[in-house]
């Protein structure tokens, strides 16, 4: 069952394509609309990763913007050894980790941005009402607890959980971004889930 679940989580993400390479080449030559297209392609994924790491909309927006600006400045040095997606993801992750180190002990939980559609999601409603011992727990409270639990994880473990369980990146891609092998990614993921399970034990049977 877990294998099946793993499979669904690893939603294929098109991270590299000839079109990307062409856009990168044109952007390297100084053609700004090409870089604009690259920003449009990856802004949501970069933003989402940073957001789930920082749990703050403003911080996520600032870091994401800095990431794309930094990437443009360093674009000449991009040799194409990895995909543009992996490369820019690495910049975003490094920036986020540096930011979190500076921000220690200052955590903002932003739950107001929760998409209203989430409350109408039947799977989520069922999950909250059936799988949690506290039937009176609403979605926002559960989410708050979840964010609290996530914030207790170390940065690398939170990153792995964010990239895999929230964003659906495959282990291999996460390994490339973090510069480690797939086995390390898997063990970190397992440990992070165990930690989350312990933090949320009073909510989950």
């Amino acid at each position: 069952m877990e294998a099946a679940a793993e499979k669904t989580a690893e939603t294929p993400v098109s991270t590299d394509s000839d079109e990307d390479r062409q856009l990168v080449k044109r952007a390297q030559a100084g053609y700004l609309p090409a870089y604009d297209e690259l920003v449009r392609r990856y802004q949501q994924r970069i933003y989402a990763t940073v957001y789930h790491m920082t749990s703050n909309h403003e911080d996520a927006a600032d870091i994401s913007q800095e990431t794309f600006i930094k990437a443009h400045q360093a674009l000449k040095s991009f040799k194409g050894d990895s995909s543009f997606f992996t490369w820019i993801y690495r910049i975003a992750v490094n920036k986020t980790i540096n930011f979190l180190k500076q921000r220690k002990n200052k955590i903002h939980m932003s739950l107001n941005d929760l998409d209203l559609n989430a409350e109408n999601d039947p799977d989520l409603v069922a999950l909250v009402s059936e799988k949690t011992p506290r039937r009176d727990l609403n979605l926002s409270e559960l989410q708050e607890r979840l964010n609290e639990a996530l914030s207790k994880l170390s940065e690398v473990h939170r990153l792995v959980v964010t990239m895999h369980d929230i964003q659906g990146l495959p282990h291999e891609e996460i390994g490339k971004v973090l510069g480690c092998n797939t086995g390390t990614v898997r063990s970190r993921l397992f440990y992070a889930r165990q930690q989350l399970q312990a933090f949320l034990s009073d909510f989950i049977q």
């Binding site: 877990e2 870089y35 989430a118 989410q143 369980d165 989950i204």
Partner: protein, 171 residues
């Protein structure tokens, strides 16, 4: 604590809730425009001359601009005061090693203590006389004959003035 696959599955499903956390509507429409705007601004500023970049920097940091302005004004005032001090000191004039007085050379005139004071030495209004040193005593003996312009210069009646038409009547 023994972990079952079901537990992890539940955690995974809970984490999936976070996929619904989205930024405000229209955020991504403006995001890429903001990024490109900053990149274009960086490129433009890189092409500017150094003084244009400095002006832009001051524009973006008005407090720093004010601080620099105060510092420059302070340096200017200090420099002015210092130059006045030096001029006053060098105004101690000496002739043959004997100090004969001091004179302010800060300018032709100054206004201090509510009085207008001129630093230009007063003009001697008496007759101009010549003097010669007595080789025996070393004293300066003024000549008895006044020295100055010829007297006829100041006597219009003695001036040989001729107009341009004077010579015309003789023809």
């Amino acid at each position: 604590m023994e972990q079952s696959p079901q537990d992890h599955d539940l955690i995974r499903r809970l984490l999936a809730i976070k996929r619904h956390e989205l930024p405000p509507a229209g955020f991504f429409d403006q995001f890429h425009a903001g990024v490109m705007g900053r990149i274009e601004a960086n490129i433009e500023s890189a092409e500017l001359a150094w003084w244009e970049r400095a002006l832009l920097w001051f524009d973006s940091k008005p407090i720093m601009a004010g601080a620099y302005a105060i510092a420059v004004a302070g340096l200017f005032v200090c420099g002015l005061e210092f130059s006045q001090m030096i001029q006053t000191e060098t105004a101690e004039l000496t002739v043959d090693g004997i100090a004969i007085g001091s004179a302010s050379t800060t300018g032709p005139a100054s206004f201090s203590s509510g009085r207008f004071e001129s630093s230009i030495p007063p003009v001697y209004a008496g007759p101009i006389v010549s003097a010669s040193a007595d080789p025996g005593s070393g004293k300066i003996i003024p000549d008895s004959s006044p020295v100055g312009p010829p007297a006829f210069l100041f006597s219009p009646s003695e001036l040989n003035t001729r107009t341009a038409s004077d010579g015309l009547g003789a023809r």
